[in-house]
């Protein structure tokens, strides 16, 4: 074989090899498309009615994050400028939301992006699969941020940057900054969808905030139509055009000790110090914790949230948060 023939052979081999690699499907891509129903078997109170004010348990917050969260008042989300802070699309994964996922394909049928739509008020999250780079650090930040993804076995690994500031726990004002990044692992296994979210935030967190949750495929697609826009409106007229910002001054939040006085837990655990998330913290708890005499509120929230009345036939649990007449309607005896 002459040198020209050898060069042609090498060139052809290289081109064919590249074509071969491009034509080989990525490993074990999974069809994610469909609607997934929420399973509220973890953090029911946070995802359902919303956390109690002053409940930062399980959060690795920085001093800045804690200070900002303690300035939160329940009137703050009623301000037009802040009504969408709770509706960040990625934070939707921490919330009581069904998820609808679909793919966007190019003319050859190749998946260009997976799109996650998360119920009302939240924009969709588009996970680009075509290898495009993340934009400049100075680029515009949107509510959804910018997300790219790739497959690792049956898991879609997504990375989000360029998000906007948000509240990352429902009802308590724990902040997430626009410097947050999210690494998200999405695994569909038969009918179960597991999503683990690792949120890193150099401003308001001292270590990654990790959440893992489960959804179940819903073949009836009962999620309903999406409304992908967070619309704002005047909720408390006296707050508008007055320059007033609902808040508590430092040290004046009356609910700062709510978890201490209600559930007997140490203040540092309620206030979201990272070391309280690890098993060794039980050494501290053992000497100072005594359970409250009774459950209080939301004792059996699963039945309350998954369809009144009687999603759990025959249950007589006193939720502690329902009016007596409603309890009676459900249980027959009002207990």
């Amino acid at each position: 074989m002459g040198s020209d023939a050898m060069r042609r052979t090498i060139l052809t081999t290289t081109v064919c090899s590249l074509l071969w690699l491009m034509s080989t499907p990525a490993f074990a891509q999974v069809e994610l498309g469909g609607t997934y129903a929420i399973r509220m078997y973890e953090d029911y109170i946070e995802r359902g009615p919303g956390s109690f004010l002053g409940d930062f348990t399980g959060m690795p917050m920085s001093e800045e994050g804690r200070a900002k969260a303690l300035r939160y008042s329940s009137s703050l989300p009623s301000m037009i400028e802040r009504q969408c802070l709770a509706q960040s699309p990625w934070v939707g994964l921490y919330r009581p939301l069904a998820i609808r996922i679909w793919s966007e394909v190019d003319e050859s049928g190749r998946v260009v992006a997976w799109v996650m739509g998360g119920d009302y008020l939240r924009d969709t999250v588009r996970i680009w699969m075509d290898g495009r780079p993340h934009p400049s650090a100075n680029a515009w930040h949107s509510p959804s941020g910018f997300t790219t993804g790739h497959w690792e076995g049956d898991t879609l690994v997504a990375r989000t940057t360029h998000v906007k500031t948000a509240w990352i726990r429902r009802g308590v004002g724990i902040p997430g900054s626009d410097q947050s990044t999210f690494t998200v692992f999405i695994t569909r296994r038969e009918n179960l969808l597991t999503i683990m979210t690792v949120q890193e935030d150099p401003i308001y967190l001292t270590e990654p905030h990790v959440v893992s949750r489960v959804w179940e495929f819903d073949p009836r697609a009962s999620q309903g139509p999406l409304r992908d826009t967070c619309n704002v409106g005047v909720e408390i007229p006296s707050l508008e055009d007055t320059g007033e910002v609902a808040h508590y001054l430092p040290g004046q939040n009356p609910e700062e000790d709510y978890m201490v006085r209600t559930y007997n837990i140490p203040k540092e655990a309620a206030m979201g110090f990272a070391h309280t998330l690890y098993p060794e913290y039980r050494k501290t708890l053992r000497s100072i914790y005594t359970p409250p005499a009774s459950c209080g509120r939301y004792c059996c929230g699963w039945i309350e949230r998954q369809g009144l009345p009687g999603a759990a036939p025959g249950l007589t649990c006193n939720d502690g948060n329902l009016p007596a007449e409603l309890r009676k309607a459900i249980t027959g005896n009002g207990r």
Binding site: M1, A5, T9, T12, T13, C16, T24, P25, F27, A28, R39, M40, Y41, E42, D43, Y44, I45, T57, G58, P60, E152, G153, D154, T155, V157, T183, F185, T187, R189, L192, T194, M196, H209, V210, V211, S212, R213, V214, E216, I265, A269, L277, Y278, P279, E280, R282, L285, P291, S294, C295, Y298, C299, C300, G301, W302, A312, P313, L315, T316, C317
Partner: protein
């Protein structure tokens, strides 16, 4: 035939063959076939349900768990003193309750076909057995666990292998899903899917997606995901015996 054409045809043939080929290669042992490495010391990060996992909630707090009426009644009858008197302080340390606890666990290979999982919390040991079924024997807190790798990739050409572990546990002694006496029965089947995920900085997380099915005390499968982080520093391992109250 021109050499270039021969090469092209060979490559195309190989590509077609690879796309249709099964990705699991026969191997001799579970240890050799492992698509992921579960060994090491893992710590539970209690960033979810803190008030129900780090401490013992009050009696009757059954929030989040899809109990049946019988399950609720049993939970409301919880008496830790009675458990202590009966020598059943470990009722909350059976596999379905243990994995959701504030644990550190060490996973290692006991032999080529058995993964051993030890916890400091309650000083418990689970054996995840691959291959042939083990005879049932008496019921225990950790039951009998059968294990199976789910392998993806690795189809040749140096392609990376991925996968997960699926385990099914039954033959359980009745125990508690939650420290405050939320029950599961001996008819419980506990299915777990184990995934390992890595961050670019090298941090590794183990995610255990699990399903508790109990026709006695649950009215729907109790499905959760629990996450743990790999610890390079193993100095915080702290064996503590079962405790019925805290």
């Amino acid at each position: 035939m021109r050499p270039t054409l021969v090469v092209a045809i060979l490559l195309m043939t190989a590509a077609v063959s690879a796309q249709g080929r099964a990705t699991q290669a026969p191997v001799s042992t579970a240890r050799a076939d492992a698509p992921i490495d579960l060994t090491g010391q893992w710590v539970a990060i209690i960033s979810e349900d803190w008030r129900w996992r780090m401490i013992t909630p009050p009696k009757g707090d059954i929030v989040s768990i899809p109990l049946s009426l019988q399950g609720q009644q049993t939970a409301e009858a919880w008496d830790p003193g009675k458990d202590e008197a009966a020598g059943e302080q470990c009722k909350a340390y059976g596999a379905p309750g243990l994995m959701r606890g504030p644990i550190r666990m060490r996973i290692s290979w006991q032999d080529d076909n058995t993964l051993k999982l030890e916890t400091d919390y309650g000083i418990q040991t689970r054996l995840l057995r691959f291959g042939t079924a083990t005879s049932a024997g008496p019921r225990s807190w950790q039951g009998i666990t059968s294990a199976q790798w789910i392998v993806r990739g690795g189809g040749g050409r140096g392609a990376p292998r991925f996968g997960s572990l699926k385990t099914i546990t039954d033959n359980l002694r009745p125990g508690y899903l939650r420290k405050n006496g939320v029950p599961y029965s001996e008819r419980t089947r506990f299915t777990e899917h184990w995934d390992v995920h890595s961050l670019p900085n090298g941090d590794k997380y183990l995610v255990n997606t699990n399903i508790v099915e109990d026709p006695v005390y649950l009215q729907a499968p109790f499905q959760t995901a629990i996450h743990y982080k790999l610890e390079r520093d193993t100095s915080k391992w702290d064996p503590t015996p079962c405790d019925a109250r805290f």
